[in-house]
Amino acid sequence: MQTTNSSRETILGAIRNSLPKDKVEHPRIPHFQRSGERLKTEFERHLQEAGGVAHDVATVAEAEARLMTLHPGAKVICSAVPEIAGTRRAEDRDPHEFADVDVGIVRALFGVAESGAVWLTQEDLVVDALAFLSQHLIVLLDPEQIVSDMHEAYRRVRLDETAFGCFMMGPSATADVEATLVHGAQGARSLNLFFLPPAQMPVVPASTKTSRPEPGA
């Protein structure tokens, strides 16, 4: 790679020599009119078109029950969210250790109505691979956290604060064999989304963390 530095100069030099004479201004991106549809309804409709399924769940207990109905045979349920324990906590480990996960549980910061996509970052996933090696995914989303379109979505993402972020729109899909849609090509085979606001965890000072009260105690 000893040539790299000189290539950098050569390329930048060639670009400067070739730059079109008439400079073009960066255009202004206007605020576009939103559709009249309720954000949650529009989100659900698009999520479904993308192969995901949305569920209204009222409580954490209901979410856990739904999880067991959806994936009765799951052995390894790896959770990156505080509300649901799973059989294993997502921890900062080597990504290869996530290869046996049947169901991954993550929380998305927000969803996008115009596509049914959710925004997941490295911080939400604990380890990125959880989102891609898990055979199935459960995504928790606060129904209040839905933005209308991608313009609004990009006003919320902080690419300067995370090494990885992904708009995920349903499960893995392909149409490479005779244009037939198949889910589960490489990543998750299914994506179920639970509408569930974050649990109001009691705020405990760091020094007393070990004696955290049990919910309802």
Binding site: I11, D22, V24, E25, D160, A173, D176, V177
Partner: protein
């Protein structure tokens, strides 16, 4: 000028068409279906045309300040912990990738789809040096197992039937040749790829966009294969063409709204991933590649082709592409975008491609970044005429080309006068048996009372060639 053989797309297209009664109609039907989904998505967004205009302007702005944005991207990506390399051409790109892999002792590498890596012929280069390269995108994997390049920039194996795939997998992976269920065939590759993802020391991706403001690059896939390759192995290498730059995070909203809708008629791809620096505990290398792009930027007539975001919409709408199959272009980039990009790599080898078009203009109409594709095709015809690359052209019965192609302003004048008949021109050109092989296996349809060609012959007969 190269010593490569001139590509003859008409002859290759003829083989695709006469091969059987199955492949070409299927190809046509699938791509047209995709185009109809694109049209529906575009129609559902009131600001669609405004978005196209803004996207076009952002790209033009970036390209007219490209040196600045590349430096900004490099500085920010480096700050985030990525190693940024610069490659003048395909050879240097391949050398850089090879040396990174060698340094890390990687013997088998898994990659997601990247047209740039195709353009650089990276896989054969690495394989000749003892590094096995596995494609992880299903369509790309199918093509790799068949020893073929991708035939479409979004749907690499769209020219194959499920029977073709079943037989290919039976030959290469050892599955049942009679089971051609797409679900089963997809599962075969999933199970084949997964242990490789877990065993490999490196994953490679391309990059759909690179954001100068944050040093981030983006990869869009439906399978999530790029994400496994980026999140599991310790090393991630990304190849990015220097034209993929965009200035700001805010700009991404415009491009992501356009990309997947134009490509496949869906609001987004299933995964739109943003990489700003290496994954926790991992290493990230970004190779910025020129390979002729800076030269193209200096071509007054053709630099707009650098705006391309590789959605493939121009291919899906193109009547010639749909009937020819992508492999008939004999180049990395096929369809209308290929017609205007390929000659910038090799004028002689691809001198026929600008004539592999009906100039119906539909490509320009659907292009999300408003590239004047059909105008550029016409300008390339003039270049080819001026360079004397006409013999094969005459064989294709575009013998009138010599004069008109040298005078595009006349062509445009004709276009205007013949506007009512222009709707029929592509069909006429496509289906007339005596004219060209695309239509040879087809019935002659009803032709407009006065076709573009009738009009042309009546008004320009003094230039018409004997072969008419």
């Amino acid at each position: 000028m190269s010593n490569a053989k001139q590509v003859d797309p008409a002859k290759a297209a003829e083989l695709f068409i006469i091969h059987d009664q199955i492949h070409e109609p299927m190809h046509d039907r699938f791509l047209w279906g995709t185009m109809q989904r694109r049209d529906a998505e575009a129609a559902a967004i009131p600001e669609w045309e405004e978005l196209r205009e803004i996207a076009s302007k952002i790209k033009e702005h970036t390209l007219t300040h490209l040196d600045h944005y590349l430096e900004e991207f490099e500085a920010n990506a480096t700050k985030r912990g990525a190693h940024v390399h610069w490659a003048l051409d395909a050879a240097e790109h391949n050398e850089i990738v090879h040396s990174i892999l060698k340094d890390h002792g990687v013997k088998e590498m898994i990659k997601s789809k990247s047209m740039l890596q195709e353009e650089c012929h990276m896989t054969p280069f690495l394989e000749n040096r003892g590094i096995k390269v596995i494609e992880s995108d299903l369509g790309e994997r199918i093509q790799q197992l068949d020893g073929q390049p991708p035939s479409h920039i979004v749907f690499p194996a769209i020219h194959k039937t499920r029977k073709d795939v079943a037989q290919l997998f039976a030959r290469t992976v050892g599955t049942d040749p009679n089971n051609d269920d797409p679900h089963l065939l997809t599962e075969v590759i999933r199970n084949n790829a997964r242990p490789r993802f877990l065993a490999t020391g490196a994953g490679m991706t391309g990059g759909n966009f690179a954001i100068a403001e944050t040093g981030t690059f983006m990869v869009c896939t439906n399978e999530g294969n790029a994400d496994i390759g980026a999140s599991v192995p310790p090393l991630h290498i990304a190849s990015i063409g220097i034209e993929k730059l965009i200035p700001r995070v805010e700009d991404m909203g415009v491009f992501l709204r356009l990309l997947a809708r134009s490509a496949e008629g869906s609001p987004l791809t299933q995964y739109s991933s943003h990489f700003s620096g290496p994954r926790k505990g991992g290493e990230l290398h970004i190779v910025l590649v020129d390979n002729g792009r800076s030269r193209r930027l200096g071509m007054a007539d053709f630099w707009h082709s650098l705006k391309c975001i590789r959605c493939g919409a121009c291919m899906n709408t193109c009547p010639v592409y749909r009937r020819s199959g992508g492999l008939s272009y004999g180049a990395t980039y096929s369809g209308p975008i290929g017609v205007i990009l390929d000659p910038t790599f090799d004028e002689f080898k691809y001198s026929e491609l600008p004539f592999h078009s009906t100039l119906c203009g539909s490509c320009s109409d659907v292009c999300p970044v408003k590239i004047d594709i059909s105008d550029q095709i016409l300008k390339w015809r003039r270049v080819m005429a001026e360079r004397g690359y006409l013999p094969l052209v005459k064989r294709m019965s575009f013998a009138v080309a010599g004069h008109v192609l040298g005078h595009p302003e006349e062509y445009h004048a004709m276009e205007k006068v013949a506007a009512p008949a222009m709707d029929y021109a592509p069909h006429f050109l496509l289906y007339n048996r005596s004219l060209n092989p695309w239509g040879r296996s087809r019935e002659l349809p009803q032709i407009a009372k006065q076709t573009f060609r009738d009009w042309y012959l009546a008004n320009r007969s003094e230039h018409a060639d004997d072969e008419q």
